[in-house]
């Protein structure tokens, strides 16, 4: 009989984790900067194997004086360059993609379970847009300080997201229809309102700022982003742990508030706590990378196909797959731009396609399909 046991849990998580680890091992070899520094070169440098010097002649990255001879100095210089690109640019970028993917996917599962709606995510509920608006206001106002270790931009994003989710919740509660599509409608509407407000803020910004803001709003893992990535760890990792620990109670929620309450879950408390911590995690992500949509929508459904609906497995598994998904999307965003550049023979303005474009291209068809099939069922 198919049941959740510790053994099955570990086996599935190991499988998902293996995918993620493999991607992380490949990540130093993939990137826009110096495309000819490939995976083999990177790992050769790392484990101390000699690079084939004779193949390097003519490579302007190595042969600085173009004399056709690779001197020891040039060789060592090249090795240092490879390490820098691999482990100070590409790998951290993959790790950031991982953090963002894990967080958004886990929050997606949580909202889908608690709102009992397969379309509920931090984005469809408007939390991300509200958070982006908060972050944008903080950035425009120049609040770059930290408060109790949390960057002000993240805090502003948190309150922006909380404002929107509070409104959505109030609307839904007023109608006593928390599970219905009205929650989504309220979320999408308030999300659109937040987006409109963001456009207003953008409109009154200078040209230089506008470019940065627009890039950020498209979703970006670039290191030039508005918030430093290292501030995200202390916020999201506890959220991952908490959501996994709450998963058994979340399962009860699938049977409705009443059964859950009689079995000893505090449904309102669980819902409020989950919304708060997911909003916080989303805020941290949004403040760092801008609104990257559809991860929280697509990944949980893909993960559920493999591991089933039990939240205890689904939350960590969706998290791991979300990390892997976003790393892949980031590679696509980098490589597609390079391909387009070489096809057209032009130097394109941006080195990478915004990752939000990729996740939307993957996510929108899935979202629309689900919306359509859902309407047919009900």
């Amino acid at each position: 009989m198919k049941t959740m046991t510790t053994f099955r849990f570990i086996r599935h998580l190991l499988a998902c984790g293996a995918v993620l680890v493999a991607l992380l091992l490949i990540s130093p070899g993939v990137g826009t900067q110096s495309r000819d520094i490939g995976l083999l070169t990177v790992w050769r440098c790392v484990i101390g194997l000699d690079l084939p010097r004779d193949q390097m002649t003519g490579n302007p990255l190595v042969d600085h004086d173009s004399d056709g001879v690779i001197s020891d100095e040039e060789y060592e210089h090249y090795q240092a360059l490879v390490r820098t690109i691999a482990f100070q640019h590409r790998f951290p970028r993959a790790v950031l993609a991982l953090i963002v993917g894990v967080t958004l996917a886990m929050c997606g599962v949580t909202f889908q379970t608690l709102f009992r709606n397969p379309l509920a995510t931090p984005y469809t509920l408007g939390i991300a847009s509200g958070g982006s608006l908060g972050a944008l206001i903080a950035i425009r106002a120049g609040w770059h300080d930290t408060f109790a270790g949390v960057p002000m931009v993240t805090l502003a994003a948190f309150f922006g997201g909380l404002g929107v989710v509070g409104c959505v919740y109030a609307i839904a509660r007023g109608n006593r229809r928390l599970t219905s599509n009205e929650v989504l409608l309220a979320g999408v509407t308030l999300g659109l309102f937040s987006s409109a407000m963001m456009m207003m803020v953008t409109a009154i910004s200078s040209e230089r700022e506008t470019f940065r803001i627009v890039r950020w709003m498209m979703g970006s893992l670039d290191t030039i982003s508005l918030q430093k990535p290292h501030t995200i760890w202390p916020i999201v990792v506890p959220v991952w742990v908490l959501l996994t620990l709450m998963s058994r109670s979340m399962n009860q929620y699938r049977l409705g508030d009443d059964i859950a309450a009689v079995r000893g879950v505090k449904p309102q408390r669980l819902l409020a706590a989950s919304i708060m911590i997911c909003t916080l995690a989303t805020a941290a992500v949004v403040a760092t990378c801008g609104p990257i949509g559809f991860v929280g929508l697509v990944v949980p459904h893909i993960a559920a196909m493999f591991v089933g609906q039990d939240c205890r497995l689904l939350i960590p598994a969706a998290g791991l797959l979300g990390g892997a998904f976003l790393i892949l999307c980031d590679w696509a965003s980098q490589l597609i731009m390079g391909m387009m550049g070489s096809l057209t023979g032009q130097q394109l303005a941006a080195a990478t396609l915004p990752i939000g474009v990729i996740t939307a291209v993957v996510g929108v068809p899935i979202f629309v399909t689900m919306l359509a099939t859902r309407r047919m069922k009900t």
């Binding site: 009989m1 198919k2 049941t3 959740m4 046991t5 510790t6 849990f9 009992r116 397969p118 599970t179 996994t244 620990l245 998963s247 058994r248 109670s249 399962n251 009860q252 699938r254 049977l255 409705g256 009443d258 059964i259 309450a261 009689v262 079995r263 000893g264 879950v265 505090k266 559920a304 089933g308 609906q309 039990d310 205890r312």
Partner: protein, 272 residues
Amino acid sequence: MSAQSHQFPLVFRDVCYGYDKRRAFLGPVSFELGRGEVLAIVGPNGAGKSTLLRIAVGLLAPDKGEVMMGGMSFAEQSTLVQSRMLAYLPQATPTPVGMSAYEVVLMGRFPYRSWSLFESSIDHEIARTAMETTATMEFADRPIDQLSGGEAQRVHIAAALAQQAEILVLDEPIASLDTRHQIELLQLVTRLARDKGTSVLIVLHDINLTARFADRVLLLDNGQVVALGPSREVATPGVLEPVFGVRLLALSTNPGEKAAWLVPDLDQGELE
């Protein structure tokens, strides 16, 4: 006295529940639910049946009066103790799409959770026994959203069974089932009451099935208890006609039967 051995697992003492202060919406209601007893709550729509059940399982707190469970006041008991004593099946249960019947039954073990995220082998054993008792084992691996209404309802009963609750509270569990499945479900419930000593508080609409399967009937009208007694005494035209506003015809029965068959007498016209 331990909670498990109490003679009346559930006692309502002058329970009132009101939406406004001047007039009670429900009550005062008093009754004692005995061990292994099936007590049916019957009444017109809006009589307060579901409200009464929600008070019984602690989802609503009474404005006046007291609910005692296992000889202790409800308010003084811990949530954990209550969750092990009570199993509740509301009128409409959201279908957890994609979860197997077995997973749903296993979720009934939630009140016995430990620090582990997962159920113990004892939990699995109990869930399997519950499924065998309710004859749901054959579709244990099927997703619950693909089961028929009767099968899904039996799975929910199995989950309640896995909860090993002394008191089973069911809100119109047969409302959407066909006649055969209605009877099968009521047979299952009464068998649990008889064999395991489970006390059952159940809201039903079908007077004739109520009369046959319930030990006692509590008749509610406008939040007031109109009658409380053995099925045979309550399920009579004299008691039910004024409450439902329909003339009833009692068909003659064999002497051994519990109660007369009641059918609406449409030829006599509306009741004054």
